[in-house]
């Protein structure tokens, strides 16, 4: 919601939409490449299909709305939406998941509201939520890592049959993510002390050598990309820090109360799409609040919702739901948390003029 015209002074900077999108794409590139290497050719196919669907839908919508197609299509926003959506999908999902997701993200998530800068919800997360609700089987099919060119990875031709026709033998390749595993086992009244050993090591989880969405497993690479974006000042620290800190505090507190029931903060921070969500999804300037305080509230709300959904909700992972819910709350946050008007107090009254700033009125100068 920060694309409203502001009053003077207008600071000029070389920032433009294509440049920002390019920087974010660069920052997310290492995690994307890692995901492709980790899950092989089918992941690359899915990424390409999703991006293609997004670009195609964007072009058709721009044409229907009578906008110039070329400049908007080439500003990189649809490309970035496609990449972020693909990163949040199961890596071996069939092509139509990517295609339907791209349609949802661009047409219903973005263009229906009026195109870039007008959308209420983060397009990629809206599409992910719609897909998860619509196709629960395909959207929860997680793989053990099988890196490119390793012995049990599918070849390129085999990958085409996986992408176009679906996985033939689902049980042979799939496994549970750590969050899904914890949820299932806790549901069977087992304790975390028995569940985690053998299934979870913080080190491999941080390196991303685990099952999960295409681009969310490599937490360290995502973190590095996010930090690089912070350093380049593409975004500010408020949303990611508030989000991660809230999850850390909640997870730490509950883990301290009952370590056999609630997973440790390390499990929460280094699994699922939390890092990706904190740095690349929740920081979307269009759908997050304008002010610093508002962004802190937004981040904390996302973090709290993620923890609540993961721990007590119906799904093992809740980043997409949390971000979409807080997107809906963004106009409200922006309504209550407004920037102070220059020269006025927070309540809107004019501030008292400080003594040293008082000048004698014109005409009664020092010459007299």
């Amino acid at each position: 919601m920060s694309l409203f015209p502001t009053s003077a002074p207008h600071a000029h900077a070389p920032d433009s939409v294509p440049r920002l999108m390019g920087l974010v794409l660069l920052a997310v590139a290492p995690a994307t490449l890692y995901g492709i290497v980790l899950f092989g050719w089918p992941a690359l196919n899915l990424l390409l299909v999703t991006i293609l669907a997004c670009l195609l839908c964007e072009a058709v919508c721009l044409r229907l709305a009578g906008h110039a197609v070329r400049p908007f299509l080439l500003d990189g926003s649809a490309l970035l939406t496609g990449v972020l959506l693909a990163l949040s999908l199961p890596p071996w999902a069939p092509w139509w998941i990517g295609a339907v997701g791209g349609f949802f993200a661009i047409v219903i998530g973005k263009q229906v509201f009026g195109g870039i800068g007008q959308n209420i919800f983060n397009p990629a997360m809206l599409a992910r939520v719609a897909l998860l609700v619509s196709f629960p089987v395909e959207m929860t099919l997680w793989l053990e890592p099988r890196p490119l060119f390793s012995s049990h990875a599918p070849g390129f031709l085999e990958s085409l049959t996986i992408t176009l026709g679906g996985i033939s033998d689902i049980d042979a390749v799939s496994g549970a993510t750590i969050l899904g595993h914890i949820r299932t086992e806790l549901g069977m009244a087992r304790e975390l002390g028995q569940i985690l050993p053998g299934h979870y090591q913080a080190g491999t989880a941080a390196l991303g050598w685990t099952g999960g969405s295409l681009g969310e497993t490599a937490d360290l690479l995502v973190l590095l990309g996010g930090l690089w974006l912070l350093w380049r000042r593409v975004m500010t620290w408020h949303v990611p820090v508030a989000l991660l800190a809230t999850v850390l505090v909640l997870a730490g507190g509950f883990h301290g109360l009952n370590p056999e029931r609630f997973a440790s903060p390390a499990v929460h921070l280094l699994s699922g799409s939390l890092m990706l969500g904190a740095f690349f999804i929740a920081t979307d300037p269009v759908t997050s609040p304008t002010t610093k305080l508002g962004q802190l509230i937004f981040g904390a709300g996302c973090g709290a919702l993620v923890y609540i959904i993961r721990t007590w909700g119906g799904y093992p992972e809740g980043v997409a739901f949390a971000v979409v819910l807080m997107n809906a709350a963004t106009p409200l946050i922006d309504h209550y948390v407004r920037p102070r008007i220059y020269g006025r107090t927070w309540r809107g009254q004019s501030r008292p003029v400080p003594e040293r700033a008082k000048r004698p009125p014109v005409g009664s100068g020092e010459a007299e």
Partner: protein
């Protein structure tokens, strides 16, 4: 005053359609239209109520005083809906089981009371009957269109269970478009209803605008043709 029956019909079916122009009666619309068959059943039930309520209200419009007209309308409509409810329960029991709660709720369907207030309370009986029929058919068409779209997207069938609900004679309507379809759950849930309705509305507006533009173009060429001889 002679009535423009053709105008009444185009009003009900297109120009002033209950769903696509008045945006009324959306609650049963969202709840019922998961298949085209349900849409058809609900539409016919509403059409029956609209037709009879318009006739009854138009025929006693001179007896009802202005001050208490709304309670009287509601009473009359409620009586008619109760009749329809019992009739469907007796003769179309399968349909009754599917539509269930929504048939008694036709009482509070704003489209029925809306037509009573706007049309039947001011116009003669026959014109009101035509209006009720046209509005009902327009509503039925909208329900079937929405139900058909959601059914095709959601489960890749069309008119599923038509024979169960409407009798064996309608078995030919049942079609399965894609045999091994996985199902698109969102389209069968209320959000899918709103999404499909939104896109259909946008489509209707776009079509109307295009026709308008074409009609204007035709007018221009016509005046051009008329002017040229006078100029010569």
């Amino acid at each position: 005053m002679s009535e423009d029956y053709r105008g009444i019909f185009t009003d009900g079916l297109w120009r002033n359609n209950v769903v696509f122009a008045q945006m009324l009666a959306l609650c049963p619309l969202m709840a019922v239209t998961t298949t085209a068959t349900n849409g058809l059943g609900m539409g016919l039930a509403t059409t029956g109520v609209l037709l009879t309520s318009n006739i009854v209200i138009a025929s006693c419009r001179d007896l009802i005083s202005q001050e208490v007209r709304i309670p009287v309308f509601v009473l009359l409509i409620a009586a008619l809906v109760s009749l329809a409810d019992m009739a469907i329960n007796a003769w179309l029991h399968e349909l009754y089981k599917v539509l269930g709660l929504f048939i008694p709720l036709i009482v509070v369907n704003c489209a029925v009371l809306g037509r009573a207030e706007v049309f039947a309370s001011k116009r003669p009986v026959f014109a009101s009957a035509v209006d009720g029929l046209a509005m009902g058919l327009g509503y039925t068409a909208a329900l079937m269109l929405l139900g058909g779209c959601r059914e095709i997207l959601g489960s890749a069938t069309l008119f599923a269970h038509a024979s169960l609900l409407l009798g064996d004679g309608f078995a030919f309507l049942e079609t399965t478009l894609i045999p091994k379809y996985k199902g698109f759950l969102l389209m069968l849930l209320p959000p899918g209803g709103f999404l499909v309705l939104g896109f259909l509305l946008a489509g209707k507006r776009a079509a109307e605008r295009r026709w308008e533009r074409r009609a204007m173009g035709r007018d221009k060429t016509k005046t051009g043709v008329q002017q040229s001889p006078s100029a010569a």
